[in-house]
Symmetry: C3
Subunit: 264 residues, 3 copies
């Protein structure tokens, strides 16, 4: 279950210097459990500090899914202190990814909803497999919940205000061609070319002097990050009080039970 066993630097990392491949491995759907979030941040920090690496390709070791997003079991039937701890970990991952000094490229060969989509949106480039099952989007409203403002900001930065407004309200999950057209991803390729395309794209990014690229990335993204940093505690309080509501808890429980029945 844990990221430690699931995230690895693949053999390819040795063939192409400076590039690591991190694969999520939290079966069955790479839910972003508290444990996985924590270990993800630690792994990322190690890579940032290890000057051997300049770029990371994020992908999945679970067939059919990039990541199903936030782990509903962390948000359901727990106490407020747990919700707060969990939300802080979600924030921390976003903060680290969105301003990472590394070049991040998402190689997406499976479903990419909600928190999975958010992770991909923090990357510098997104390659999506041309498979109708590879739906991508922030579909929170479909579960009766709301994407927080920094999810919104990340999406608006990527696809613009109008497309984000429609996508967020309707909880749209875009199939590959539409995802490309709206700008949710940068490239759609046959499933067996996702990794190789990600590596070619990475080579292009590796050609840029790190220092200038990092300062430029920071200049583009820092104002968005600062908005969360300014009100990080308030954002946690908002989440805790929202998720603790009876109506929300009931709707999450019903959703989780449906999922169990499907599996059963």
């Amino acid at each position: 279950m844990a990221l430690a066993s699931g995230m690895r630097l693949s053999a390819r990392a040795l063939l192409r210097p400076w590039v690591a491949v991190m694969k999520f491995k939290n079966p069955p759907v790479n839910s972003l459990s508290l444990e996985l979030l924590t270990e993800f941040v630690i792994s990322l920090e190690k890579l940032e500090n290890d000057k051997t690496f300049r770029g990371v390709i994020l992908s999945s070791d679970c067939p059919g899914v990039f990541s199903a997003g936030l782990d509903l079991t962390e948000m359901c039937g727990r106490n407020p202190a747990h919700y707060a701890e969990y939300w802080k970990a979600v924030q921390e991952l976003w903060l680290r990814l969105y301003l990472s000094n590394l070049v991040l490229i998402a190689a997406i060969s499976g479903a990419c909803p909600a928190g999975g989509c958010l992770i991909s949106l923090t990357c510098d480039y997104r390659v999506l497999a041309d498979n109708p099952k590879c739906l991508i989007g922030l579909n929170e409203t479909l579960l009766g919940i709301i994407a927080p403002f920094w999810f919104r900001d990340t999406l608006v930065n990527t696809i613009g205000h109008r497309a984000a407004e429609r996508a967020l309200q309707l909880g749209l999950l875009f199939p590959p061609a539409e995802a490309l057209q709206v700008g949710m991803v940068d490239q759609v390729v046959p499933e067996d070319q996702v990794q190789s395309t990600a590596l070619s794209v990475m080579a292009q990014w590796m050609a840029i002097p790190d220092h200038a690229r990092q300062l430029t990335k920071n200049m583009m993204r820092k104002p968005t990050v600062d908005r969360l940093l300014k009100q990080r505690d308030a954002d946690i309080q908002n989440f805790v009080s929202f998720i603790s509501r009876d109506s929300i808890q009931k709707s999450l429980q019903m959703y989780l039970e449906k999922l169990k029945q499907k599996k059963g």
Copy 2:
């Protein structure tokens, strides 16, 4: 002339629960007179408070025009107090529409300039008839006047900064194909399918839990609304002093006389 007689909940509203159809009926061109604005806001408020309704389709009962926009006779040859009252009513309509809890869909089968365009831009979705006479845009500069900053904000939110900058400076009225390409509308369909398309789209929006959708819409639009609320009185003063200028009054009078001669 009045909205009371012109705006109605069509029979279709009964066939599809929760959806009202409001049709402007202020012949000949659905000018946004003070009376119409006032009654529009009241009707909207009633629908918002009546939990029977979750969505409204805005359309026109005047052939060939959605709405010609602000009523120039309210802005010409009157006293400053009247200009102030009128402008406050325009603001009020925008404020109500832009943050409406209802799903608003514009079914546009006629010309849609200036204030008519603004109303359509506050909707959640715009369907335009594929007829070269169905021009849409904020064409204020053509009359020698200036769209206020919250018209600008609404347009920038819809089509982005660059397209808005060009469209506003040139007072562009987009024919259907261009309107679709620039993002001014979401769909262009044959004229006889405008209403049915609006209803199908509404069904898609009705599938989303209201509470989550409303909070998401609010999150997307509230910052834009707050910019006007912060300086609402100053905006009224600006309008009154601008519109009271001799040069502007003269140019409006000339324009109105041209219109009369056309009709004559």
Copy 3:
């Protein structure tokens, strides 16, 4: 070398009233030397004050290049006072161009990197020659330097946040078809039609009442200009301390020597 001899109001200006044609002439590549910047601002100010002129077409008298951008010899091997003076002149040019009351149209028939691209982005419309050598973009990172925040703002206003983020990090120089698609330019035409297209477009802009158009342009761009005005001195200090670094000076010197060898 100087702008005084190189910038002229072409004969065409007399045929089409109100429109001046300014051609950069600082061979071989129209580098933006301190002298050229200063004279450019003065010429622009004269045109702004001379009510004969309502629009200016910016183009180049040096074959193959619109402008190569900032003059590296002004940023290399000089003292901090010179760097400060130079940067202030660059700021001044941008401030004047971006809020110019004149209609500015860029007629681009050659390479248009870095500062050359910035100048074109301040225009109201950009026409680019359909020639693969006509690359356009803010390619600062390729030289190991960083576009300042107001270059970023100008680009984001033109092509949106996501496209700007990618273009700035990778220092992308777009060939004509891609430049058009991303919105870097408004029109791509055969090389021999660049000037005539610019003149036709200008006629369209001349049809709008100046006062309304100018106020609208100001409303769109003033917030971006104000961001620089609020921190103009700090921006100069940033530039001076960045450009004075040994590592930056070395990399600029190496680049300049490569350029000399190419010519030699």
